[in-house]
């Protein structure tokens, strides 16, 4: 997906909302519930996966995902391993990926950016609105 500049008109914004499919990979039931709620409320189209395998299945069955919202600590395959997998597949490598993790570790951050994440966001440091603004702006 090629995003327009952040200062696009309202009509473009609306159009973008309808077509933006956001895959949220977050295992914590409390967090993923409020994320999905918020994204839906703001008019985006979220799909939830609670582990990496689920997320891979969603991509493989051909869902036209535009944005990945990835936690790092997950049961089984980690968010970073999933990111690596996605970026290595030519058919998925164009999807913008955002790491939203509770970990503020510098190593995780460096690793994520090296693997091709568009941004690394530390979970507790931002409101949901702020995170969504940043993702849409990218």
């Amino acid at each position: 997906m090629q995003t327009d500049s952040p200062s696009s008109s309202t009509s473009t914004e609306d159009k973008k909302k309808k077509t933006l499919l956001i895959l949220v990979l977050e295992d914590d039931p409390h967090l993923n519930r409020i994320i999905v709620h918020k994204l839906t409320g703001r008019g985006y189209n979220p799909i939830l996966a609670t582990n990496a395998q689920e997320a891979i299945d969603i991509l493989e069955r051909g869902e036209p995902v535009d944005i990945l919202w990835l936690d790092i600590r997950l049961p089984g395959m980690s968010g970073l391993e999933f990111l690596k997998y996605v970026k290595e597949q030519e058919k998925f490598s164009h999807i913008k990926a955002f790491i939203v993790s509770a970990s503020g570790s510098v190593e995780d951050q460096e690793k994520a950016l090296r693997l091709g994440a568009a941004a690394y966001i530390v979970k507790g440091n931002h409101d949901l609105d702020e995170i969504i603004e940043q993702i849409i702006a990218e």
Binding site: H30, H37, G104, V106, K123, G124, L128
Partner: protein, 808 residues
């Protein structure tokens, strides 16, 4: 450097310096002498030409005076100038006179081109050329300063005036011309017997081509030696030239030669030289740039009128060519002499100093105890004498040495004999002591001591292993047997390295890297701690972490290594758990907190329906509380990470201004809430900083957050960044409540909060400043503050500057 080489070097240097000086001195002296000779020669050439020129002038004036005395001429002119004669008659007379001059005068002297009779007003009244009648010679005189009509009009009998040469067009060719004027006198005399002057003069035009060629070659008019000299002059020098010049018109008359068409050139002589003649009537010789722009050496002879000059000159390049040629030859000659001298000095110094060297060499060998050395010098004279004395002295030394050696040998034999006796006595004494020991039954108490030691070794919790010099196991306690799953009986006399494998982390230690060989080789004890990550693997494959201490045993007959080790499986697990705690706590605490933050955010954004005022307010409290808890957790985690030593500093080069701006931006919600403004004031040309980004962020965040917390609404926070020595000074200044004087000393203590801080913000953690201090000290910086209660607080932090990178 050898003596002969030194000698040769000094001598050569002296010769070279002397040679150089000679060349410079001779060159200077010769050049000045040569120049002087050249100039004198040129001056005499110019002088000869001047003589020829003067002689030529005399001949023309004599000729002119002779002609002006012609009776018919005088009578006719007298009649013509008579005011009573009618103009018609005058004209007739003029034509007759012209004819007379042409037939009776011009044809007798080929040098004369025209003869004019000029009236007192300067107008030609009669001429050998009829077309010249009426020409205003007076005007021509003024214009060219040529014929000296005005002088002639007042001249005495027998006087004539010659002009300098001028160029005039005759039959379309330029010719050098000389004009001579003579006053005409009546044939009659006055009452005093003087001839009466007529109001007219004769003007004779001489063509001077041949003459000029003559005297410019050095005196063809006068047949004297000057001519020959000048011929030699022009043959000898390609660029040699003699010419006549007239100032100020700049006319130059010169002999036609290769590259020069005419003999009349409109060119200028150097003004300074012309002035010498015009103002002082003096001659000149020296170097100058001539009318062709060539540097020449030449001489100028000044003619008395002050306007005519005769030059003789030669291009400097040619004139000095013989000198430079000679100079080159002299330099080559001196170089040759120098080379010869240098080689000669080397040869001489070598041959003179060789014997001396020989003696020095021998002395050297003797100093190294080779007394067989003798100087091989066959020279006569002092050198040979010295060598012979030297050799004699050596013979004597050798003789004395031999004698003393023999004496020493004798003594030595005596000592050996005495020693043998001594050993025998010692053995006897030892045997007697053994007898005494047996009888005192010391053996019993030794046995008891040994048992005690054994019981300690057996019961201790650490594994103990002793190997001998050949790395064979000779002792092992039960703990070691248990841990390593072997019996001493099974492995006694075997190298333990062939049974157990040792790892550091995942890497297996092999060969000399193993602890026992390393201890033996290094000759000292080795201690392996829990953080060194050592593991031992038994033959069954069981692997456990260990701490080890080795000791080198060096008793007289039992050399080996003592190895004490401990299974630290439990300690290690505990240690790992401790370091895991930090990341676990981070995740386990932050995830539910994130829930609280986000849920209260969503409830508050109105999307779930409107809340009443109180509900919204309470929800805000929950939200704010979660934010505060985040900060406290982050601070606590950072503190424990730094304290536990698990925190690894990861320094990077950062732009201080950009970094501080970014950090402050993240605090915008807090700033906006209290309407506090911040100013970040970086100094110009601030260097980059070299520091761990996480640590710096914690420090700046804590200091600014503190300032926000303890400053009233609408306050101001200033952040200055300054360069100081090898660091950047970050200053955070607020106009908040300040710190009470009595509590300033405790401000960096953990969980300490000042009284006024507690009353203003009841729920601070009291951890922020202690973290700041820990972090700043970890990066090698300093933190301090200045504060006045009620006025504000300023914190100072030093941050290391990046080396040789400017932050511009």
């Amino acid at each position: 450097m050898k003596l002969w080489a030194k000698f040769a070097a000094i001598f050569s240097t002296l010769v070279i310096l002397g040679g150089g000086f000679t060349v410079v001195y001779l060159s200077t002296a010769f050049l000045s002498e040569f120049r002087s000779i050249q100039e004198t020669n040129l001056l005499s050439v110019a002088e000869m030409s001047k003589e020829a020129y003067t002689a030529y002038g005399e001949s023309t004036t004599v000729r002119s005076i002779d002609w002006s005395s012609d009776g018919y001429l005088r009578a006719t002119v007298e009649e013509m100038t008579d005011p009573d004669v009618s103009p018609e008659k005058q004209k007739e007379l003029s034509l007759i006179l012209g004819e007379y001059l042409r037939v009776n005068k011009i044809s007798y002297d080929p040098r004369v081109l025209i003869v004019d009779v000029v009236g007192k007003d300067g107008i030609v009244i009669a001429s050998s050329r009829a077309d010249r009648i009426g020409t205003d010679e007076g005007a021509e005189e003024r214009e060219k300063q040529a014929a000296r009509i005005s002088d002639a009009l007042s001249a005495k009998l027998g006087e004539a005036y010659m002009s300098t040469m001028v160029s005039e067009v005759d039959e379309d060719e330029l010719h050098p011309m000389t004009h001579v004027t003579v006053r005409l006198f009546s044939t009659r005399q006055d009452e005093n017997g003087q001839l009466i002057p007529l109001p007219a003069i004769v003007l004779v035009h001489f063509i001077s081509d041949d003459i000029t060629r003559g005297f410019l070659r050095g005196g063809a008019v006068h047949e004297n030696h000057g001519h020959a000299d000048a011929e030699v002059f022009s043959v000898r020098y390609d660029t040699g030239e003699i010419y006549l010049a007239r100032a100020p018109g700049g006319l130059i008359l010169t002999v036609p030669r290769e590259g020069k068409e005419g003999i009349v050139l409109n060119a200028k002589v150097p003004a300074n030289i012309a002035r010498v003649c015009a103002e002082k009537r003096e001659d000149f010789h020296g170097e100058y740039i001539n009318y062709e722009g060539t540097l020449v050496i030449g001489a100028m002879e000044c003619i008395e009128d002050g306007r005519t000059m005769l030059f003789a000159e030669v291009a400097a390049a040619e004139a000095f060519a013989p000198f430079y040629d000679m100079q080159r030859k002299i330099i080559f000659a001196i170089l040759g002499v120098l080379l010869f001298t240098v080689f000669f000095s080397i040869f001489v110094s070598k041959s003179i100093l060789r014997p001396l060297n020989e003696i020095v060499g021998v002395a050297d060998r003797i100093a190294k105890n080779d007394f067989t050395a003798r100087a091989d010098v066959r020279e006569r004279g002092e050198m040979g004498q010295l060598a012979r004395v030297f050799n004699t002295m050596l013979d004597n030394i050798t003789r004395y040495q031999k004698e003393s050696e023999e004496k020493a040998k004798e003594l030595n034999e005596k000592v050996v004999a005495m020693e043998k006796q001594n050993v025998f006595l010692k053995d006897v004494r030892k045997a007697m002591l053994n007898l005494l020991q047996d009888s005192w039954d010391l053996g019993a108490s030794l046995k008891k001591e040994k048992e005690q030691s054994m019981s300690i070794i057996t019961s201790m919790n650490e594994g103990l292993l002793v190997v001998n010099k050949k790395k064979e196991v000779i002792l092992m306690n039960p703990t070691a047997e248990k841990l390593l799953e072997v019996k001493l009986a099974d492995i006694a006399g075997v190298d333990p390295g062939t049974i157990f494998r040792t790892f550091q982390g995942d890497k297996e230690l092999l060969g000399d890297d193993k602890l026992i060989p390393m201890t033996m080789k290094g000759g000292k004890s080795i201690t392996v701690g829990i953080d060194d990550n050592f593991f031992v693997q038994t033959p069954s494959g069981k692997r456990f972490p260990v701490t080890v201490a080795t000791t080198l045993l060096t008793s007289k007959d039992n050399e080996g290594v003592l190895l004490v080790f401990r299974d630290v499986t439990e300690e290690k697990a505990l240690n790992d758990a401790k370091s895991n705690f930090i990341s676990i706590a981070s995740h386990q605490l932050r995830t539910p907190l994130t829930s609280i933050r986000w849920y209260s955010e969503v409830l508050n954004d109105g999307s779930m329906g409107p809340l009443n005022e109180m509900q919204a307010d309470f929800m805000k409290e929950i939200y704010q509380g979660s934010l505060r808890l985040f900060r406290t957790i982050d601070t606590l985690l950072a503190l424990s990470r730094v304290e536990s030593g698990k925190f690894e500093e990861n320094r990077a080069i950062l732009d201080a201004k950009v970094f501080v701006e970014g950090t402050v931006k993240e605090l915008e919600p807090l700033l906006n809430e209290k309407k506090i403004t911040t100013h970040i004031n970086p100094e110009d040309a601030l260097p980059n900083i070299f520091v761990d980004a996480f640590m710096l962020k914690e420090v700046i965040t804590n200091l600014v957050a503190n300032s926000i917390r303890y400053t009233n609404e609408g306050g101001v926070i200033d952040i200055d960044l300054k360069k100081e020595d090898d660091h950047v000074l970050c200053i955070v200044r607020d106009n908040g409540i300040g710190i009470p004087e009595a509590q300033k000393a405790k401000i960096f203590e953990r969980f300490f909060r000042a009284d006024n801080a507690v009353s203003k913000v009841p729920d601070g953690s009291g951890l922020g400043l202690s973290l700041v201090k820990e972090l700043v000290e970890k990066w090698g910086g300093k933190v301090w503050f200045e504060s006045k209660e009620g006025e504000g607080t300023t914190f100072f932090v030093t941050i290391p500057a990046a080396k040789d990178a400017s932050g511009a």
